[in-house]
Amino acid sequence: MSSEAKPSLGSVLVIGGCGFLGHHVVRLLLRDYTCSVSVIDLRCTRNRRPDPDGVSYFEADITDLDRLEAIFSQVKPDVVIHTASPPAQGNDKVSHALFKKVNVDGTAAVIKACQKTGVKALVYTSSASVVSDNSSDLINADERWPTVRGKDQTEYYSETKAAAEELVLASNRAAEAPKLLTCAIRPSGIMGEGDTMVLYHLINVYRQGRDNVQVGNNDNLFDFTYVENVAHAHLLAARALLLTAASKTIPLDHERVDGEAFFITNDSPVYFWDFARAVWAAAGSPRGTEHVRVLPRSVGMVLGFLSECFFWAIGKPPTFNRQRIVYSCMTRYYDISKAKRRLGYKPLVPLDEGVRRAVKWTLEQQEKSKAQ
């Protein structure tokens, strides 16, 4: 792509730009767009671009509104991409407080800062889990599905993501700043270089030789999404919001991007255990499926319950529990027609290529940490 053909996004501020998703957003901004890039993160040492790339880094806690406003006034962003979120791990009081503080209060502060400094477009990273109750199947779900809130939502992390998404979408063309346009991206199962969750756990399962058990019948489809595609969707959304901001009329309902949420996937749901096996094969597993024993879901649930009892007795958080069984037997995939139609979204990298890249990176990281 020649530099003339690259679309312009003006001044872009990426919040969480040193994080897993955020640093890919920064990379794509530099690769595919004409713009000046700034980053806010708690610490700006990891995933930092080399100085010649011209990215400005600011260390800040996003719940600190004064600090945010000061940076916003200095950077004067046209576009804010808000990807910051703590890892969705932990189910205790401390992590719940952190989810609430960063996801809800932090996002509220980001919105305030946007409204006060004349930002045109805010793209928020939500999560596809906001419509999941963590036990029922989601079969080809699209944006018409209701979000699961309050006591129906068993994962507090998802509750806070949904609450923040609601704040972001409510601030679209709001009275406080009618010019601010917002939208939310709901990615499902992000994986890729920099991921320390999905692939890290799966590869550990293989290393520990636990790849010989399959829970459930493996007919359940699941959406995993390569991180670059998610980053790409954010930038398409930012560009659509800027175009809307520049036009005099409000777009028709079926074309609207502002005030809307979008599911983003790789547009290729795969059977849950097939994904795991593809990861193991990429990590060097020479095995097929002959050695695999199939454990019915019900048996898995009993074992999960026993494990929970055991860990409760010894007073530690369980490493294996019923929720893990539920997840591995759940159907959970999405229809992303809306993003295709309104954002012009299409995954840049197919799923198998994404898995290859992500596994290669994870193995390299493990080699490095061993060498140290």
Binding site: N140, P146, N218, A278, Y333
Partner: protein
């Protein structure tokens, strides 16, 4: 298979026998031709249809009367062309003008052709082609024009390939070549059929705006045949698998069949299956545009057979050793299922997509891509026949009490009502027994004695009517 062998086979596979019986007994054609009203030339056409086609003869003869004759003749014309193209005893100098000019020959009254070699299995059709020509004259103009147009395109395509084959004995090279070949032998037929369906108002005219759907119908069938027949074609010295695919696994085509290369050959074949499976969603989409039951059956049966065949050949080493085909029982079951509606055909596609996914091997380079393609087929079916309704999900969440589910109280109620019903049944049985004259006192006494005896027995009564025990 001998009769005894067959009997043992069906004894061990009762489902197969059941499917065959079900099809033979319960299949009721939407339309039946009426031979008593047919002219001798019509009868002759159906005779040659039955002679030349194994798979299409039955479904064609059950077609809507509006299209019965046009499609039968369309088939015979193309079969005639094919019989000339296939015959290696005809010199290319004679063959080329026959193929390119076939659309004119088929308008000449009384034209027949006896230049086929004696071993050409369908030579009789061309020897009596005057009967086909006589019937073609009676076909409605719009239908005839479609048949003629496709005959021109097909004849020229075959001539080009015949000339090309003279020069190039090495078979198909790129995937684009492969798909072009499939277009000539199957895509064009599909084009003609779609135009006939729409012209007779038996299919949605929108199919004409989305000709890629028609193309997929033909590609899906032809690619499946090419994968299945790989061994037979290899023996005949022909190769239709594109070099662009097999060269990723082998340097020489013949290596594909060496027993020591089986695993590699299987990987190569699953690459071919993946390439064919890409058409599945468009095939389902196409079938949604058919408005007439007999036409639906006509298009759906070959498609169901194709996905079942793909499942059969997928990771099946036998395809490199012999010709494989789906069992008679499976074929009958597929025919029963393909003569209902789109939903049932979608169930067939989903069932076979899942079977393919179950056979998938993580060591295969196309493992995840195949899994994703099976997922795509399932997702597409969900988009036509959704399982979940967001409105209902939202409503259920607003009124959680309406949700069918079982908490502890429900379980207790259930157990209590079971116990109550058992008591009720017990009591009424005793009551009925008493009404019918059972001697309750004797039973109570027996029970009492067993427990130690505190009930004083009344004075014995002589001549108690009824029976003593039950």
């Amino acid at each position: 298979m001998g009769l005894a062998q067959q009997a043992i086979y069906f004894l061990l596979h009762p489902n197969q026998l059941r499917a065959i019986i079900q099809w033979k007994v319960w299949h009721e054609p939407v339309h039946r031709r009426d031979p008593s009203k047919e002219t001798p030339t019509e009868k002759s056409c159906f005779h040659y249809l039955n002679l030349t086609s194994r798979s299409f003869a039955a479904v064609i003869q059950e077609l809507n009367p509006e299209l019965l004759m046009p499609i039968c003749l369309f088939y015979l014309v193309l079969r005639g062309l094919d019989t000339i193209e296939d015959d290696m005893t005809i010199d290319i100098k004679e063959k080329e003008p026959l193929l390119r000019g076939f659309h004119e020959l088929m308008e000449k009254d009384g034209w027949t052709f006896n230049g086929n070699g004696p071993n050409e299995k369908d030579r009789d059709l061309l020897v009596h082609f005057d009967d086909v020509i006589a019937e073609l004259k009676k076909v409605k103009k719009p239908y005839y024009e479609i048949i003629k147009d496709i005959t021109i395109k097909m004849g020229n395509g075959m001539a080009d390939y015949a000339l090309n084959a003279e020069h190039n004995a090495n078979g198909v090279n790129t995937i684009a070549d492969y798909e072009l070949y499939c277009h000539y032998v199957a895509g064009l037929v599909g084009e003609g059929l779609t135009r006939l369906f729409v012209a007779s108002n038996l299919a949605n005219p929108k199919l004409l705006d989305r000709m890629e759907l028609t193309e997929s119908m033909g590609q899906f069938l032809q690619k499946t045949n090419i994968i299945r027949d790989v061994h037979e074609d290899w023996q005949d010295g022909r190769r239709f698998w594109p070099k662009e695919i097999w060269s990723q696994y082998f340097d020489k085509w013949d290596d594909l069949f060496a027993p020591e290369n089986r695993e590699k050959a299987l990987q190569c074949s699953s690459h071919m299956v993946l390439n064919a499976l890409k058409h599945a969603e468009e095939c389902l989409f196409y079938m949604a545009g058919i408005r007439d039951q007999s036409v639906f059956n006509f298009v759906a049966i070959p498609q169901s057979m194709a996905i079942a065949t793909l499942e059969l050949v997928f990771r099946n080493p036998a395809i490199f050793e012999r010709n494989v085909k789906i069992t008679k029982g499976d074929a009958c079951q597929l025919m029963t299922e393909s003569t209902q509606n789109l939903r049932v055909v979608c169930d067939v596609f989903r069932r076979y997509a899942r079977r393919i996914h179950k056979k998938n091997d993580p060591r295969d380079p196309n493992y995840l891509a195949i899994s994703a393609q099976c997922g795509k087929i399932e997702q597409f079916i969900e988009s036509i026949f959704p399982t979940q309704d967001p409105k209902k999900i939202a409503a259920d969440r607003r009124h959680p009490n309406d949700q069918p589910g079982m908490d502890t109280m429900d379980a207790i109620y259930l157990v209590m009502s079971c116990v109550a019903i058992m008591i009720l049944v017990g009591v009424s049985m005793v009551g009925v027994a008493w009404l019918m004259g059972a001697n309750m006192e004797k039973m109570v006494r027996g029970l009492d004695q067993a427990l130690g005896g505190s009930v004083r027995s009344p004075a014995p009564i002589a001549n108690v009517p009824g029976r003593d025990e039950l």
